[in-house]
Structure formats: C-alpha cells, structure tokens
C-alpha cells in the first residue's frame, strides 16, 4: 500500500513539474525572450515544440 501511494505521489509530482516547466517555456517563448531579443538561443527542438504548441 505504502509503495503504491508513493508511486502515485511521484506521478502527481512529475505531472506538476511537467505543467510548470511547459508553462515556463511557453512564457519564455511568447512573452519574455523571443528569438530576436535573446542572445542565449533556445534549443532547436524546444523551438519546434513551441511553434507546434502555438499552432494548436
């Protein structure tokens, strides 16, 4: 029972972390640091992911 509970807590924590990090990336992309201003380039895969999310 304890192990199951811990596993479930881990899944919830991972989901929370995913939601928070995706939100941070989206904000980074849309609002704060778009490519024409920011010197530190966003990785290509992340940029593609942001473009796909924007299309959705």
């Amino acid at each position: 029972m304890k192990v199951k509970g811990r596993k479930r807590a881990g899944v919830y924590l991972a989901k929370l972390l995913i939601v928070v990090s995706k939100k941070a990336v989206k904000q980074h992309w849309e609002k704060s640091f778009p490519p024409w201003i920011y010197e530190e380039k966003m990785p290509e895969k992340v940029r593609k992911w942001c473009e796909n999310e924007e299309k959705k």
């Binding site: 989901k15 995913i18 990090s21 920011y38 966003m42």
Partner: protein, 188 residues
C-alpha cells in the same frame, strides 16, 4: 550543475508520465528556467539578508514581479544582464528605503505617474499577436495591481516598506517607457 539537475528531473518525469522526446526537451528547458529563476530570487534574498534588508528585498521583488506579470516592460538580452539589472533595481529600492517616509503628496504624484504610464504603455510585451481583448485585459489587471500596491503603501506605516513599494512600482513604470513605443525590430 543546474543543467545536469534539469536533465535528471526531466528524465525522472519521463519515467513516470507519458512524455515524447520533443516534449522531454521542452520540459528539461522549462525546469532549467524554473531553477534559474528560483536561484536568482534566493540569491537576492540572501544578499539582502546579509546586508540587513531581507524584508525590503522580498517586498520589492513581489511588487515589481506582480506588476510586471501584467504590465510587461523592457528585457535584457541575456540572463546575466537581467540579473545585473535586477540587482541595480533592488539597490535603488534599498537606497530609497533609508530616506524619510514619502508624504502623501509625493505618493499621489508617483501613483498618478505610474498609472498614466501603465494606461499608455501596458502591456509592454510581446503579445501583440494575441488580440486587442487579451491586451485590454492585461492592461486592466496591471492598473488594478498598481492601485492595490499604492493603497497598501498608503496604509503601511513602516517607512522602509512604504518607500520600497513606491520605488519598485516607479522602476517598473520606467521599464515600460524604455520598452514602449519601439518597433519590433528595435527592441533590444
């Protein structure tokens, strides 16, 4: 170090939830941003605490951050420059906290000025493509937050906090001027 930590955390998330490779990269990058922001916040609080201005630094960061969330403002071109600019902003707030309490006339002058700048420039960010309604809502929220902080400043008796709130709000309003009115290509 934080890159390694973000990679480990992203991998940990992937093991627990269904995340494809592209998403995993985005999550890793997002975790890196969150860690950096978190570190920056605690660095300033720690330095402020050492100098004996911990509360003032926290207050300045909350006031500045909450207004900036909706009003926007100028951005530095790298994370390092951003940290330096935040350091300068907090130094000004700490410096202002040592001045005598701003009287009501001064407070109302800054209140009106900050509101005027927010009405004219906010939201000074990159959401032009989001439509007029979204931008209008952002502007209204920014105005509400500014009013809330100035009312709090009116009610707070402690001189240092009173001055810190006004200073942080004014600096955020100045960052709107620095950003506003520029073309997309000029924004550096």
């Amino acid at each position: 170090m934080y890159e390694k930590l973000s990679r480990c955390l992203a991998q940990w998330c992937q093991n627990r939830c269904q995340v494809n490779e592209e998403e995993r990269e985005a999550v890793e990058y997002g975790i890196r941003i969150v860690i950096l922001t978190f570190c920056k916040f605690w660095l300033f609080v720690f330095l402020g605490g050492i100098l004996g201005y911990g509360k003032e630094v926290v207050a300045a960061l909350i006031v500045f951050g909450s207004i900036r969330r909706f009003a926007g403002g100028i951005h530095m071109s790298s994370s390092f420059k951003c940290t330096l600019a935040m350091g300068c902003m907090l130094s000004v707030c700490i410096w202002m906290s040592n001045y005598p309490k701003a009287d009501e006339k001064v407070l109302f002058f800054f209140w009106i000025t900050t509101l005027a700048l927010a009405v004219y420039f906010a939201p000074a960010d990159f959401t032009e493509n989001k439509g007029a309604m979204v931008r209008w809502k952002q502007k209204v929220k920014a105005i509400c937050i500014i009013n809330m902080w100035y009312i709090a400043a009116l009610m707070i008796c402690k001189t240092s906090m009173h001055n810190v709130i006004i200073a942080a709000a004014v600096i955020e309003a100045i960052s709107l001027i620095l950003y506003g009115g520029k073309d997309e290509s000029e924004r550096t």
